[in-house]
Subunit: 337 residues, 2 copies
């Protein structure tokens, strides 16, 4: 697919998040208030657990994309704030459920909530936040927005189940991997951008902004998957090797295995299963991912999607919000390169 | 509260479900078709698991209440069918998540789905069905219906978390128990009846039908909790003693413990915790529940709510659908008496 890409625009991307945060400061404050206020409940575990994970310093990428899309399309309203809050709640609910499903120990650099409140708490508070997301969307008064986000929620769950079913399938085609991350990650970015555009008042910008969101989400997830073998936990608060320990097939492994010798293939087939994994396998996995160029190939793929996200902005009228969405695509990839 | 009740109307209640099923035959067929069709997915685990639990012979009580409320209020439309399907999906999603939370082994008389597909499958397919419920509700075109059901879903999750937090609290006041089951069970019956009435075209019947649904739901859950100590698994396909083994405080235990001697209290305080439970404790628990009259008191409480449900129908115009809703309240209680 790289041959269809236009050259990346030269720009400084170091502070895309900060610029976006300052452009959206008032909106983000409103969203932060809603994130706390709408998780209120007489049942203490709900605000406690929600505060623990929502307050754990996520970058609010999805709310920012929602808000920026609304601004590009005309402006953010109180309905946009409700929508952006709903999007973050949906994301948080999937994090809580993923922690139980993936059996992961860290989330946003902190102990996963399930270690504090138990698996049951994670499941049920996730359900609460997911339901609350829909009450917030009802407040936007837009059936179209509800349609977009409920459809995306279905697709996300479908992607998660598909990933679960693919576990241990070491010859997973790259296309299947991409279909999984398109569903479990990109669909929410896409829906956030599309609904944001509609909430901002533009029908015509919904498609290009949705395309931006989808490709940004793909780039973001591919980078995340590369970082899981990248030797740092600092950036996203995720332990290196989580995917490896869970036997989750991601792009670095798929490429490294495909390019590897028969001996390498045998290694992957053994090491990606918990029962046959040995001490030192993670280090060797990281070695193979680098030696085969799988790390670079993965990052190149992420760059390609970031570039597609930027191309989708070509039909969007110039504005500081558009520029910073553009810069955000670079930032997403810069986390890993 | 019994002193506020009017005498129960004399009627035969043996075949309330069958009568309702035959009155609603066409509608129920449409709902059954939707239950299968809208769980379709290229990811086989979703229709497989959904079919396993949805097809496991649930009585479709909630869809029937939805459909009958619509008929009472003017008539069922394709939107009503979508709504009734959504209600059953929400219920199914909570069953799937409950199985993981409660660690129960049987569901509708079959092995719990989690034993076939694992906890992760139960969580994620539950999420899928819950999201799908919202896409179905969008198809009703009614923001009010979405508001009612999204609010109810929040309340259900809140009730589940509250129940989780109350686990092991043996002096749980009856009022707290009632608040929990009002949230986790009655809220969906209430929402189904209210939304059904709106979908049938009546604003004025929404409140009385909602009151019917809420009280029916309370009666239903109290009976369920009584049956868990009742010595039969035939009626609801639930193993006797599930609540006991999970240390879940329900009305029979609350009353038996309150009425018991110091020795009995010490028994409950020990036996309701897995760590200190001994062989033969369940049999003694059932003995105490009968000896203290807690079983009868629980059933009387259920009857009182069934009667309140029937009273709520007083302002509803006479029709075969009203009569059968009335009979359904008796049927709910007849399961146990």
């Amino acid at each position: 697919m790289t041959q269809t890409l236009t050259p990346r625009r030269p720009k400084s991307n170091g502070s895309a998040i900060e610029t976006l945060q300052s452009l959206l400061a008032g909106d983000l404050e409103a969203v932060e208030r809603l994130l706390v206020a709408r998780a209120a409940s007489p049942v203490a575990m709900i605000p406690d657990m929600s505060g623990y994970i929502v307050g754990a310093g996520g970058k609010r990428l999805r709310p920012m994309v929602t808000l920026a899309a609304a601004h590009v399309a005309g402006g953010a309203t109180p309905g946009t704030h409700a929508l952006a809050t709903a999007v973050e709640y949906i994301h948080t609910a999937t994090l809580l459920h993923d922690d139980v499903v993936d059996d992961s120990d860290l989330r946003r650099g902190k102990q996963a909530a399930k270690h504090v409140w138990g698996n049951s708490g994670s499941i049920l508070v996730g359900d609460f936040l997911f339901a609350r997301a829909f009450t917030l969307m009802v407040e936007t008064g837009s059936l179209e927005i509800l349609d977009i986000l409920s459809h995306a929620s279905t697709v996300i769950a479908e992607g998660e189940v598909r990933q679960l079913a693919a576990q241990g399938r070491l010859d997973l085609p790259t296309e299947d991997y991409l279909a999984i991350i398109e569903a479990k990650t990109a669909a929410l970015f896409e829906a956030a951008a599309r609904a944001g555009a509609l909430s901002g008042g533009s029908e015509t910008l919904a498609d290009p902004l949705a395309a931006y969101g989808k490709n940004l989400g793909l780039a973001f997830q591919i980078v995340d998957d590369a970082l899981d073998y990248g030797g740092t936990t600092a950036v996203i608060g995720k332990s290196v090797g989580d995917d490896f320990r869970e036997g989750k097939l991601t792009m670095p492994v798929i490429i490294a295995r495909r390019r590897g010798s028969d001996e390498d293939k045998a290694f992957w087939d053994r090491a990606m299963h918990a029962e046959t994994r040995k001490e030192g396998d993670l280090a060797h996995a990281i070695h193979l991912i680098r030696a085969t160029g799988a790390a670079e190939a993965t990052i190149a793929e992420a760059r390609a999607y970031a570039s597609l996200a930027q191309q989708a902005l070509n039909t969007v009228p110039a504005s500081p919000y558009r520029d910073v969405l553009d810069a955000l695509a670079d930032f997403t990839v810069s986390r890993v390169s």
